[in-house]
Symmetry: C2
Subunit: 205 residues, 2 copies
Amino acid sequence: MITIHGMQDSGNCYKPRLLMALLGKPFHHVEVDSLDGSTRRPAFLALNPIAKVPVLELEDGRTLPESNAILAYLGEGSAFVPADPFERATMLSWMFFEQYSHEPNVAVRHSLLVYPSRKAQATPERLAETLDGGNKALAVMETALTRSNWLVGDAPTLADIALYAYTHVADQGGFDLAAYPGIRAWLSRIEALPGYQPMTWLPGT
Amino acid sequence: MITIHGMQDSGNCYKPRLLMALLGKPFHHVEVDSLDGSTRRPAFLALNPIAKVPVLELEDGRTLPESNAILAYLGEGSAFVPADPFERATMLSWMFFEQYSHEPNVAVRHSLLVYPSRKAQATPERLAETLDGGNKALAVMETALTRSNWLVGDAPTLADIALYAYTHVADQGGFDLAAYPGIRAWLSRIEALPGYQPMTWLPGT
């Protein structure tokens, strides 16, 4: 059985857990607290030299870092990856948007506000910059989700899972989703998918 | 014929140009200067609401943003995409690493140092942060490229093209590649590939 090394309270780590729940597939979860130095220990660095969670570990010991690459691997051949090459590329495009334009603002602003270790970086400029960047990313999603039920084509894909992870807790970073009715309706559509589990869920619980 | 809207002096825009050169395939180039407001004009926003280059435009008018998603689309079925699913996911993992851990440090530090519009953001803290983050990303690459000629498997993939784009001009961001002999040898291997073209190259020139 595959193992996902991750932190319960992390959107990036939630992505592969949510996909596995939606696929109805079993997996092991190993909790790794990225805030207490666990990701800097030699045993973890052997799994992922970038010292970040999540990491996927296959039964034969091979490992794969980067949440969205893990989604691509675990989702391959499933209904969450479009058959059409252009739709598949569009799905990846949203996933790169998530890591470049969304997560570094929406998720990072939350960590700046909440984690004591980030306090020194939580300057007024940085908080303003991430608020602006996060709202720009949310506005791009709102435009897309006003036109369509899902980010790509007419069914949920890995792009929806990747962007759901931090969007559904955007309020923790000080983002008010009241201004984004398209996003709120889309969040509800994802939460109604068969097999959906919330971020707190871990396998075996 | 496909069109790549991009800026000559941008590593992200160079990625799909380099891939097309290596594949020996023709394409149109439309120069878009992201520094003079061109990406904020309605005509460009219709191509890409995220207001960023590059954007791929197909013959039928469909468009695709995000440099690494464009690589995935243009490279599909070519020798630059491994057949093995795990190697393909590992290739994507490096591409997400590029956009999350490498480009926001190595490329952004260059833009902070060079572009007048970024001057206000070029604080000592931001320059120190990007120097540290960039060297961490380069160290991860160095470890991989000391063990192997290419980032994934035993042949060049889209991951090498994606990471070559800003690594080969890392000195412009104040990064000294003398400390990274594995990276320097890898840069030379890429530059020796049949069809290779430098960043300044545009089709028809």
